[in-house]
C-alpha cells in the first residue's frame, strides 16, 4: 500500500536569509524607534521565525492539505455529524458583496436586504419546526440548547414555579446534561429500554411536579424514531413540564413530521448538519432555536421584526427576554448558507432529503448487519449503530481498530464508542448525498476488514505518516509549539 509522507516542518526547511516579502520603499517619514516604543519594551533579538521562499511555503501547505480527509475527497460516514455534501452554490452566494461587505454597525435602513433574509429564515425555521417563534442568535447547537433551557428557566421563574429537574435519556448527547446544569437545573437520567427507546416506566417513575423539561432526541442517537413521543409529551404536559427536542437529527424527519406536532415545545437546529452550514474547524457556527408562543417573550433580544410598512428592524424592546447570547445578530454567514440551501431545495426537496437519508442508511445497514450486528431490531432512520462486540470477544479487535483501518481504504471512520448504551459502537450515517455505488463500495470495505487478521488491524492505519498518536500523552502533555 502507498504510504503518505509528511512534509518537513517549515522550521526544518528554513535557511537563514531566505525570504518571501518584497517590501516597497517606506513612504512615511522615518522616526527613531525609541520615540515609538519605549526602550524597555523593545525586543533585542528578532523572533525565531522560519525563513523560506514563497513557493516553498505554498507547496508545504498544499501538500499538507492533501493529507486531510474531507467530504469533497472521501466518503465520510461520521455518525451523528451528518457529513452531507455542502453545495458550492452556497459559497458563491455567501461571497456576494451585498452580504459579504455588510457591517453590523451600519444603519438598519442600509441593511434591509440582509434583515429581510434573516426575517424570512426565522419564519421558515418556525414553519419546519411547527412552532411559533425563532431566535437566530445562538452561535452553535450546544449554545442553542443552553439558550432554550435558559428560556425555559425564565418561563418557570416568571410563573413563580421553582421546578428543579431536567430529565435526559441515557442515550443523549453529552451537551444535554451540560446545558441543563448550566441553566441551573439538576439533570436526571432516564434509562433506555431493550429496544433502544425511552424506558417509559422509568420516565413515569421519575416524572414529577419538579420536572421542568424532558430533553428528547428524536430520532435518537441510536438512529431510532421513538413512537412514544406523543404519549411522553402528554404525560409531561399534564404535569406542567416542557418537551425539548435536541434537533441534531432533523435531517431524518425534515418536511415529514413537524416537531410541534409531536408535542415539542422548544428545540434547536444544527444548520451545519441539516442545512449544509460549514462543518468543523471550531466555528463559526449557528444553533437557531424555535419555541411555542408562550415561551416567545423570553427569547434572546434582539430578534428581526417587520413594521406594518414592510420595513425590517431589530426589535430590542423585549422586557421579558433572557438578554443577548451572542453579539450582533448571530453568525449571519452560516445562517445565510442555511437559507440558500432551504430556498434552493424548497419544501418538496427538503422532504426528499429526509427520505433519501433514511433510505441510504437502511440500505447500508442491510448490506453489513450480518457481520456487524445492530443491537436494535427494525428499520433505522438516517443512521444506525452497529457493534463490533463479536470481534472484540472473538479476536480482540475493537471498534477503534476497525475505524483506524478504514483510513487505509480512503474512507473516513464512523463515530465510535457513542452512544454509550451500545458496546463497541460504530455509528454510521451515510447521508442522502451518497450514491448507491459509494454505499456498496463502503460495505465491501467493511466486510473485507472483518476478515483481516487482528495484527493488521491493531497496527492500522498503515498508509498515514503518523499511524496511532499517543492519545493519552497528547491529552496530558500536548506539545503545541516547535521545540527547536
Amino acid at each position: 500500500m502507498y504510504k503518505l509522507v509528511q512534509p518537513p516542518l517549515l522550521f526544518e526547511s528554513s535557511r537563514a536569509g531566505r525570504g518571501t516579502a518584497v517590501l516597497p520603499p517606506c513612504d512615511v517619514p522615518d522616526r527613531p524607534l525609541d520615540e515609538l516604543i519605549p526602550a524597555d519594551q523593545q525586543r533585542l533579538t528578532p523572533p525565531p521565525l522560519p525563513e523560506l521562499g514563497e513557493l516553498d511555503v505554498v507547496r508545504h501547505y498544499t501538500n499538507l492539505s492533501t493529507l486531510n480527509m474531507s467530504i469533497d475527497s472521501n466518503f465520510y460516514p461520521l455518525g451523528s455529524c451528518t457529513m452531507k455534501y455542502n453545495p458550492k452554490r452556497n459559497e458563491r452566494l455567501a461571497a456576494l458583496p451585498g452580504l459579504l461587505a455588510q457591517h453590523p454597525y451600519q444603519d438598519e435602513s442600509t441593511l434591509q436586504g440582509l434583515l429581510a433574509i434573516l426575517y424570512d429564515l426565522q419564519e421558515i425555521l418556525a414553519e419546519i419546526a411547527g412552532l411559533d417563534a425563532v431566535s437566530l442568535q445562538p452561535a452553535a447547537g450546544a449554545q442553542g440548547e443552553l439558550t432554550a433551557l435558559l428560556v425555559a428557566a425564565r418561563y418557570f421563574r416568571e410563573k413563580g414555579d421553582s421546578r428543579s429537574q431536567v430529565l435526559i435519556p441515557d442515550s443523549a448527547h453529552g451537551t444535554n446534561p451540560a446545558s441543563a446544569h448550566l441553566s441551573g437545573f439538576d439533570a436526571v437520567t432516564i434509562k433506555s429500554d431493550g429496544r433502544g427507546l425511552v424506558d417509559l416506566e422509568d420516565f413515569k417513575a421519575k416524572l414529577s411536579d419538579q420536572t421542568a423539561v424532558f430533553m428528547m432526541t428524536n430520532p435518537n442517537t441510536a438512529g431510532l424514531f421513538d413512537p412514544q413521543v406523543r404519549e411522553i409529551a402528554d404525560l409531561l404536559h399534564a404535569r406542567g413540564g416542557l418537551l425539548y427536542l435536541d434537533g441534531a437529527n432533523m435531517n431524518a424527519i425534515l418536511g415529514v413530521v413537524r416537531p410541534g406536532d409531536m408535542g415539542v415545545d422548544l428545540m434547536h437546529y444544527n444548520p451545519h448538519k441539516t442545512f449544509s452550514g460549514p462543518h468543523g474547524g471550531g466555528g463559526p457556527g449557528a444553533g437557531p432555536i424555535a419555541v411555542r408562543d408562550r415561551l416567545a417573550p423570553f427569547l434572546p433580544a434582539p430578534i428581526v421584526a417587520r413594521k406594518a410598512g414592510g420595513e425590517y428592524y431589530l426589535d430590542h424592546d423585549r422586557p421579558h427576554s433572557i438578554g443577548r447570547v451572542r453579539s450582533f445578530f448571530g453568525n449571519t454567514g452560516v445562517l445565510f448558507r442555511a437559507y440558500c440551501y432551504i430556498r434552493s431545495q424548497g419544501p418538496q426537496g427538503l422532504k426528499r432529503i429526509a427520505q433519501h437519508a433514511v433510505l441510504n442508511a437502511n440500505y447500508l445497514k442491510a448490506l453489513v448487519d450480518d457481520v456487524y450486528p445492530v443491537p436494535y431490531d427494525g428499520p433505522c432512520m438516517h443512521e444506525f449503530v452497529a457493534s463490533a462486540r463479536t470481534f472484540a470477544k472473538d479476536k480482540g479487535v475493537r471498534a477503534m481498530d476497525i475505524a483506524k483501518r478504514l483510513i487505509d481504504y480512503n474512507v473516513h471512520a464512523p463515530t465510535i464508542y457513542f452512544p454509550l448504551i451500545v458496546s463497541e459502537a460504530l455509528m454510521i450515517e451515510p447521508t442522502e448525498t451518497e450514491s448507491r455505488e459509494t454505499l456498496e463500495s463502503f460495505a465491501e470495505i467493511l466486510l473485507a476488514i472483518a476478515a483481516e487478521d487482528p495484527e493488521t488491524l491493531h497496527r492500522a492505519p498503515h498508509t498515514t505518516p503518523i499511524s496511532r498518536p499517543d492519545e493519552v500523552k497528547a491529552a496530558k502533555q500536548p506539545v503545541l509549539s516547535w521545540q527547536g
Binding site: R389, M400, Y417, L420, I421, A475
Partner: protein
C-alpha cells in the same frame, strides 16, 4: 485483592469491607470499557460520600465518566499514587489501583450490591448490547 471476594455496584465500582473501613475501586471490565485512561479526579480526605452519588470523575480518550460511591461514608485515605498516575489503575484495578478508603457506619449494608458471579453475569449481558 481477589476480585471474587469483592462486592460490585451496577455502575462498576467494587468495595471491600474490613471492620469499619471500606476500600473502593473500579472493576477490570470498567477499565477495559473506558479504554486509555488520561486523568482521575478523587475526593479529599474528610469528604463525605453518599451511596449512589458521584464522588469523582475519570477521563479516558473515549469519555468523561462519573465515579459513584457504592456505599456512603467519610473518606479516610485517598490513593495519591493513582491520582498522580492513573496508569496504575489501568495496570491493576484490584491492588495498586484502589481509589479511596471510607470509614463506614457499623450498620452499613452491602446486600444491595452484586457478588462476583452476579456481576460477571450482568457485564456479560451488558456487553451483548
Amino acid at each position: 485483592m481477589d476480585p471474587k471476594t469483592l462486592k460490585y455496584s451496577p455502575t462498576h465500582e467494587w468495595v471491600s469491607l474490613a471492620g469499619d473501613v471500606a476500600t473502593i475501586g473500579i472493576s477490570r471490565f470498567a477499565v477495559d470499557q473506558l479504554t486509555d485512561l488520561i486523568v482521575i479526579d478523587l475526593p479529599k480526605v474528610g469528604a463525605s460520600l453518599v451511596a449512589g452519588k458521584p464522588f469523582g470523575e475519570i477521563e479516558s480518550v473515549k469519555a468523561v465518566s462519573d465515579l459513584y460511591a457504592p456505599v456512603g461514608g467519610e473518606v479516610v485515605e485517598v490513593n495519591s499514587a493513582v491520582a498522580a498516575d492513573v496508569q496504575l489503575l489501568a495496570a491493576d484495578p484490584y491492588e495498586n489501583g484502589w481509589l479511596v478508603k471510607l470509614k463506614v457506619a457499623p450498620s452499613v449494608d452491602l446486600s444491595g450490591l452484586f457478588d462476583y458471579d452476579a456481576y460477571v453475569k450482568k457485564t456479560a449481558e451488558e456487553h451483548d448490547h
